[in-house]
């Protein structure tokens, strides 16, 4: 038994060290996450799961811009992480498509929408979301190989009045 443990110990130690380094890297720099579902359809495939590179550098100072694809903890269920496009930051005015009303995003919140407006469950449903739920910014698609590309910033036209633009 003791001998078996002595043989296994270097591997166990290596595993723990690697895990600790990996977790730290994933928390501070970047990680790979599976993104799927129909809510971001033109950007991500609806049928198969896509793997995306998620940058965590934005978490420290919350420096995200309008149009970024971001990872958020769902305000409805804390175990679930959703990927949406962030289209308005605190202080912006936004016109909500279905309701024909214009509202201001409160302090510390932002407005999230899926690219596929028909099926996406997003801020149109649950309102502005606190920025503190931010989990990262999606920068690249890395799998499947035929879709490897940068994820571009994109904004809906004419619905957002950024703070200070009027």
């Amino acid at each position: 038994m003791a001998r078996a443990w002595a043989t296994a110990w270097p591997y166990v130690k290596g595993g723990i060290t690697g895990g600790v380094f990996g977790v730290t890297f994933a928390d501070w720099c970047a990680s790979i996450t599976s993104v799927g579902g129909a809510s971001m359809y033109p950007t991500f495939d609806a049928q198969q799961a896509n793997w995306a590179l998620v940058s965590k550098r934005c978490l420290k100072h919350f420096d995200v811009s309008r149009g970024d694809v971001v990872l958020f903890r769902s305000p409805k269920n804390h175990r679930e992480v959703v990927v949406k496009r962030l289209i308005a930051l605190p202080g912006d005015w936004i016109q909500i498509p279905e309701k024909e009303e214009i509202r201001q995003i409160p302090q510390g919140h932002c407005w999230l929408e899926g690219d596929n407006a028909g099926v996406s469950l997003d801020s149109r449903h649950y309102g502005p979301v606190p920025l503190g739920l931010l989990q990262g910014r999606v920068t690249h698609l890395v799998w499947p190989p035929n879709r490897i590309s940068r994820v571009e910033r994109k904004m809906p036209e004419g619905r957002i009045m950024p703070k200070g633009s009027f």
Binding site: T17, F62, S74, K76, H78, G108, H109, P130, L131, G132
Partner: protein
């Protein structure tokens, strides 16, 4: 041994002119003495030490971020439980991840109004609970009852007269909670007399 091998190295590689310079100048002698230092083992040593430091750093980060950590609280909003001048507390991060936060727990969370600011409040209601609270405790007896929506919690400071909490900004998503405050560590015995 090192010196001898470097001498032979000189004899092999350097041209006669360069050899003349080597024998003439003190600087070149110094250079060869520096070059003869055991650089390989020095660099190896430095690398392994750096690796050790990085490993310790990562270990601390993982424990602090995912298991438990120590935090400093300050301010009037939790007054009987936490000093005005500040208290050092132990924060349990595991039970938040497992969803084991219950009404009555004091939690550390990111403020919904400014994500850079951590705040400490007491959870008073989980999703689906109805919470009755005084709208303006200092001036009137008016109370209000709300139902906490799905995935949200209702948080309030213990000192309801000086706290900015769910009474102002409404119930907050559970995902904003970063830790459960489990112990107060009496490191700061301030002289309050």
């Amino acid at each position: 041994m090192g010196t001898r091998s470097f001498r032979s190295f000189q004899a092999l590689v350097l041209s006669p002119a360069a050899a003349a310079v080597v024998s003439a100048g003190d600087m070149s002698g110094f250079f060869w003495r520096v070059a003869a230092l055991p650089w390989r083992s020095i660099v190896g040593d430095a690398l392994s030490r750096t690796f050790l430091v990085a490993q310790a750093f990562c270990f601390v980060h993982v424990v602090e971020e995912h298991v438990c950590s120590v935090s400093f609280l300050r301010g009037p909003s939790m007054l009987p439980a936490v000093n005005l001048a500040g208290d050092v507390v132990a924060v349990d991060r595991l039970s938040v991840r497992c969803g084991k936060v219950a009404p009555g727990d004091v939690v550390l969370m990111l403020s919904p109004e400014d994500p850079r600011k951590p705040i400490a409040k007491r959870v008073l209601g989980m999703e689906g609970d109805s919470v009755t609270y005084l709208v303006d405790p200092g001036h009137s007896d008016a109370s209000k009852t709300v139902t906490v929506p799905q995935g949200h919690v209702w948080v309030q400071g213990d000192n309801i007269y000086a706290s900015r909490d769910s009474r102002q900004f409404g119930s907050v998503p559970y995902g904003l909670i970063t830790g459960k405050i489990v112990y107060r560590i009496y490191l700061l015995e301030l002289d309050t007399s």
